[in-house]
Amino acid sequence: MADRILLVGNPNVGKSALFHRLTGVHVICSNYPGTTVEYTEGSLNVGGERVQVLDVPGTYSLTPSSKGEEVATHMIAGGGTIINVVDATNIERNLLLTLNLLDRGLPVIVALNMWDDAAHRGIRIDAAALSKELGAPVVPTVAVTGEGVRELVGKLAEAAGAAAGRGVRERSDGERWAEIGRILAKVQSLEHRHHTFAEWLGDLSVQPLPAGIPIAVVVLAATFAVVRLVGEGLIALISDPFFEGAWLPLMERLDGAIGGGILGDILIGRRVDGEIHLRESFGVLTTGVYVEFGMVLPYIAAFYLAVGALEDSGYLPRLAVMLDSVMHRLGLHGWAIIPSLLGLGCNVPGILATRMLESGRERLIAATLISTAIPCVSLQAMIWGLIGERGVRCVAIIYVSMLLAWLVLGRLLNLLLKGRSPELLMEIPPYRFPPIRVAAEKLAMRLVQFVREATPLVLGGILLANVLMLTGAFDLAAAAFGPILSAIWGLPPEAAVPLMVGVLRKDVAVGMLETLGLGDAQMVVATVGLAMTFPCAASFIVMLRELGWKGFLKSVGIMLATAAVAGAALNLSLKAAGME
């Protein structure tokens, strides 16, 4: 038995779902090609032996054309038993990679995944005959329900022996396609059947007019509405009653027990009109806990509920087709809308997802646009929660400014950077509707991940802010950077501090800005500046890793310049418009 198992296959065939079934490790599965861009590790017990299992990014061939595919070919070269995951609803296209793997003499076992879906579509495959034709074990599976997984594990050991029997073969892809045609004639039979509703909808939503573009507009508007309604609903029905009714009295009692002092200042914060204020007291346990769990978490849940539905249904690639022409003007192609959309949740997965883009130029443009002009949902939750109280107008100005910055910056980068944007080439998956349980598990996993990653940063950020305030470091920072801020953005010097805290967490920073007593115009400028300047530390690290030092410095330079110009322009236009 080999010491490791690799899950290899075309994009979007269910490798991650099978990985979860084999190892119990949760990974994000969606219905678009390129969900997995990094490998994930887990382990499996085979006959009393622990074996490492790797979820490999999807690839069409063993000659990579994107960073995600590079990762895949590199891992395959590293050895191990290969579980070649094949989409049973479309084995013709999938078998090219299978033959490529077999021809290299690698130990391969084929998982004919989505077996149930194939049967629904009237596709009948003789698995035994296919196994004979390929000279490798073949097992039908349904990864989302776990069907066939036990049998797959049981047959793992046969892969090596089969490979030894086959040997290595040298042939061209053209010859392989001919071979696939021959194999299919023997093992697959198709039942004639009528178009299903999902197929009809699929064709409709990929045809720009009359339906595709209106559908895209409706889907995007509905997504936004769902995020807003669900987010606000969760706050009104669950988080606010809990924090006002239970948490606040608890904090009052705690404050009495602590009895002020430095510890009180840090944990509870200062009183507003003699009372503890969940948003403005700025203690670790008051504002810190409230911002993360009371204001941001509800919106995180709402966002991933809506975006999860988009991911799983298979709509995103169709949206990419609709927006391809627009994205080309920004130096990208339609696929780049997927990382951008993910960036609206959190910039980190957004920037990671740019790996599926083909060229370094595209990755630089996409990552820069995400980190500069796409506010993450934590920041947006604060914008709606805090700035929303100043009126819809302020929120609208912030969103319009960010959208304009995204368009203008993308256009400029496309004109200024050498090279051309490559062409879209993407498979469009059929619409699928995963079991509710699977969708719920994915949402739960994302919430747990958010709480785990954000809690130390939010609480630490507020702790740090308090320590800085107590030690007088704030005044120093305000004195150093304040004059620049006042000169270009028309902000008071103290605004330098929240902007610096923004490097840790943007949501905490907006909360700090709100305590400064800024006017509407200043608050809008400060928020846009905060959103555009430094992304939080986590996105910073990912950018550095994905772009390398050179690209990273370029990207940060562009970001700072954009923020300075946009903030100044916004400040001037708001003043000209007479906004206070």
Binding site: N90, G174, D203, V206, Q207, A320, V321, L425, I428
Partner: protein, 100 residues
């Protein structure tokens, strides 16, 4: 080049660029004008010389061309599609007077 300069192109009247193929019609890829990189990527997805492709949707302007091949749907950027030459299949709907 595949033929001598000036020599007649066989079935020239049946050749189209992929982006010119009407929605609902089927053609067979006869040539891909482009570097190895593009050819390899297309080939790996099952879009190679000899593949039958059916145009699924029309596009606005220079939007991507959506086709079906080997049972899967693909979106191909306009520029890439205009470098793929297809021979339309005789479905009885060819323009009059241009039969070979």
């Amino acid at each position: 080049m595949l033929r001598e300069k000036g020599a007649p192109i066989p079935h020239a009247d049946r050749l189209l660029l992929l982006n010119e193929l009407q929605p609902g019609r089927t053609g067979v890829i006869v040539e891909i004008v482009g570097g190895r990189g593009i050819c390899n990527r297309l080939q790996a997805m099952g879009l190679c010389i000899g593949s039958r492709v059916r145009r699924v949707a029309s596009a606005i302007g220079r939007g991507p061309v959506v086709v079906e091949a080997r049972g899967a749907q693909f979106a191909i950027g306009f520029g890439m599609a205009s470098r793929i030459i297809v021979e339309i299949e005789n479905g009885g709907q060819d323009p009059p007077g241009r039969q070979p």
